[in-house]
């Protein structure tokens, strides 16, 4: 007889181990018909624990079978009898020994350490990509699920018995199962830990005058979690990738239009639109920016020296920020070097500012005009005929849409007649109208170089203020509700480089015996003339004699009226 064949394939560990075992467990969870894990809800956890208890806690001792209430009892009374009908006596009382499981109604946010606040805000995370076929082409869906919600579920397992041996046997089984403190309940392929938290004895054995029996309660905590299928997210994956390349001869910084929009009182006004490439901050116009009317970014009027810079005598606008890709930059300008109209008269650009009051549907400009350059609402350029209408050769602007309280409207226009006599040829007149609403005394003015012309409070000249570093400060705050108007000149757009030394102010007291008044310096341009603080708006009644450098008036003045004249010195 030969020697028996040597076995070399003894399977010491009958099941899979380590990585293979983990894969096996994972496949039990994930290989479902829906390709998504089965939901795990409260009732699934309860069923898992119930099955675990049925399998591990039952025993038979001396032919005495432990009666096990196979369902979780609730507040519905009828259920007690139906769940235990096999072991009720004549009085419909449960026959001992029996075990019943009570689930505490309150479930708490879980203490399972694997699930503690690791992914915030229920954000779904990638789970699986699943192929699909819509009848024509193969695609895919991306399945996402959020992190499971940890949940602690507490169970009280009651054993009621007449014999200590039965109590011992039940205790032996529990202690064996939980000798490592915890055991595992299988719920839809997930192994969920359950911890024995304690044992309490509630046996009524101290009272000699009542029926005596043993009753013990075992407290368990199931460290479960919820997988809620309502939170599963299925989104179609990319199944076609269409790559389109648009080629163009133009540079990325595309100029959409380049049109000479109109001629306004002998001004050639251009509007140039640029489409941003998201990188460039410098934009060059076709013509020189001798008179910059406005620069807008996606319809929003930009502020010079704040949002953009413009070097005089150039065609460049340099933004102070990086525009977003495909945003629209519009430059509205004229290449004229002065504002002389077809009749040879010099014209002023007036920039007027209004705070709208409720139900206001008309704006009254300080000067009649037929040349509205632009109107903006809270910095947003508005279209004529849509938001407003201007009746030509009047100072009226009709607002066509409802405005909100305190909306701010700014209007830039050229008056038909010059705003001030001998107006400085290269400055804009800015008029700001507003109402005092608090105790603010300082007001910031904007512009490259500013000369305050005239300030009124409730239409009365107001002189108790200081002006420094573009800030006008009242000595005393005007009463709340007062209407304030500040008129000032701004050297903003025309190519000059003025300094304060280029100006001079002469003041006289009217003397009826004098026909004219001698000025200190030769005058190149008169900026304004005021009588007792009120600006005089016409040049027809003020005469300047350049030969003698004197000024005279053709309207009625009274003795000691204060005459102030501010002018640009002719060097």
């Amino acid at each position: 007889m030969g020697l028996p064949k040597r076995k070399n394939n003894i399977d010491v560990y009958p099941g899979k181990t380590l990585y293979e075992r983990r894969k096996e467990i994972l496949s039990r969870i994930t290989d479902q018909d829906s390709k998504l894990p089965e939901p795990v809800l409260h009732s699934d956890l309860d069923k898992g624990f119930l099955d675990f208890a049925k399998e591990n806690f039952q025993f038979e001792l001396s032919g005495n079978q432990l009666n096990f209430i196979s369902k979780l009892l609730t507040i519905q009374r009828w259920g007690e009898i139906s769940s235990s009908s096999d072991f009720l006596d004549n009085d419909e009382k449960l026959e001992l020994p029996f075990v019943s499981i009570i689930r505490r109604p309150d479930t708490q946010f879980g203490t399972n350490p694997a699930l503690q606040y690791t992914i915030p805000n229920r954000r779904p995370v990638y789970y699986k990509t699943v192929k699909n076929f819509d009848g024509n082409r193969i695609g895919a869906d991306v399945y996402q699920i959020p992190q499971p919600i940890p949940l602690d579920v507490f169970y009280d397992v009651y054993i009621v018995s007449n014999r200590l041996r039965e109590i011992n046997e039940f205790n032996r089984k529990i202690m064996r199962e939980f000798s490592s403190r915890q055991n595992y309940v299988e719920v839809k392929g997930h192994y969920i830990p359950v911890v024995l938290e304690g044992v309490n004895d509630e046996s009524p054995i101290s009272n000699t005058e009542k029926r005596r029996y043993y009753m013990q309660v075992y407290n368990f905590n199931l460290l479960g979690f919820l997988i809620d299928d309502e939170e599963f997210k299925v989104t179609p994956a990319i199944n076609r990738n269409l790559l389109v390349t648009e080629l163009s001869g133009a540079p990325l910084k595309t100029k959409l239009t380049d049109k000479k929009s109109k001629v306004i009182r002998n001004l050639n006004v251009f509007t140039e639109t640029f489409l941003s490439d998201g990188k460039t901050t410098s934009f060059t116009t076709k013509n020189k920016l001798n008179l910059l009317i406005y620069v807008s970014y996606n319809g929003q009027v930009l502020l010079q020296d704040v949002d953009f810079f413009h070097n005089h005598n150039t065609s460049n606008i340099i933004l102070n920020f990086k525009p977003e890709k495909d945003s629209e930059l519009i430059i509205n300008y004229s290449n004229n070097t002065d504002l002389t109209d077809v009749d040879g008269n010099f014209r002023t650009i007036v920039y007027e500012n209004f705070n709208i009051v409720p139900n206001q549907d008309t704006l009254y400009l300080n000067y009649t005009t037929d040349s509205l350059l632009f109107l903006d609402l809270n910095g947003q350029i508005q279209n004529q005929g849509v938001y407003y209408d201007h009746i030509p050769n009047t100072n009226e602007i009709k607002i066509l849409k409802t405005s909100n309280y305190n909306d701010n409207i700014q209007v830039k226009y050229i008056p038909i007649t010059n705003a001030t006599p001998g107006m400085l040829s290269d400055m804009d007149l800015v008029i700001t109208n507003f109402t005092i609403t608090d105790n603010t005394t300082s007001f910031q003015l904007t512009g490259h170089y500013i000369i305050i012309s005239n300030v009124t409070v409730n239409n009365v000249p107001f002189t108790k203020y200081t002006f420094n570093n573009k800030t006008l400060t009242f000595d005393v705050a005007p009463p709340i509700g007062s209407s304030v108007r500040i008129m000032y000149y701004v050297e903003d757009n025309i190519n000059t480089n003025l300094t304060p030394y280029d100006f001079y102010t002469d003041t006289f007291l009217f003397d009826p015996s004098l026909n004219n008044y001698k000025l200190t310096y030769l005058v190149k341009d008169i900026i304004f003339v005021s009588i007792n603080g009120l600006i005089v708006n016409t040049n027809e009644i003020i005469l300047y004699d350049k030969t003698n450098n004197t000024i005279s008036f053709e309207f009625l003045l009274f003795t000691n009226d204060e005459i102030t004249i501010k002018y640009l010195i002719d060097n």
Binding site: S43, L50, K71, I81, S82, E92
Partner: protein, 170 residues
């Protein structure tokens, strides 16, 4: 094998089964004829109702009953209680519990039993019926009070608490 029966001979010298029967019939005549308190018993069909494999409870409208049976009893209803739900701010005006004393003989005649969890309906007026869930079916009648002078048991005291319409509404 038939269950052995022992004849009751106590009080035999002055009270027997004939006396017990006549007293019982007089009592029933008074209770059922003169008093005539009518109640409706909805017995839970436990074989059909317990289809939930985890919880000993039923979904709404999924509780099954045997055919309702009208029966007579002596009715006592406790005063309602006016409390809050827990420590919250929601008022809970709760009807008082129902106590019904019913002759055992009457239930036998009707061929019914009243068990823990069954529903009893009681018409408070022509169009308003309130339902109660039995929490003490009074099956144990060994005490003196429920026997006729110690002779034999002759009535049961059923205690029931009101149920909400969400649980049962006829």
């Amino acid at each position: 094998m038939l269950k052995r029966k022992i004849p009751i001979k106590r009080l035999n010298k002055f009270f027997g089964s004939d006396d017990f029967s006549i007293e019982l019939s007089m009592g029933e005549e008074w209770l059922h004829g003169d008093m005539d308190f009518k109640l409706v018993l909805f017995r839970v069909d436990r074989s059909k109702s317990g289809d939930d494999e985890i919880y000993a409870e039923s979904e709404k409208n999924n509780l099954h009953f045997h055919t309702p049976i009208e029966f007579n009893g002596l009715v006592q209803i406790n005063e309602p209680t006016n409390e809050f739900y827990g420590n919250g701010m929601m008022r809970d005006m709760e009807a008082g519990n129902l106590q019904v004393s019913v002759y055992v003989h009457h239930l036998k005649e009707k061929g019914v039993d009243i068990s823990y969890g069954d529903i009893i309906g009681y018409y408070e007026n022509e169009d308003r019926v309130r339902y109660y869930s039995v929490f003490n079916d009074g099956k144990i009648t060994s005490d003196n009070k429920h026997t006729y002078g110690g002779y034999k048991k002759f009535y049961r005291t059923i205690l029931a608490s009101p149920v909400s319409n969400d649980f049962f509404n006829g």
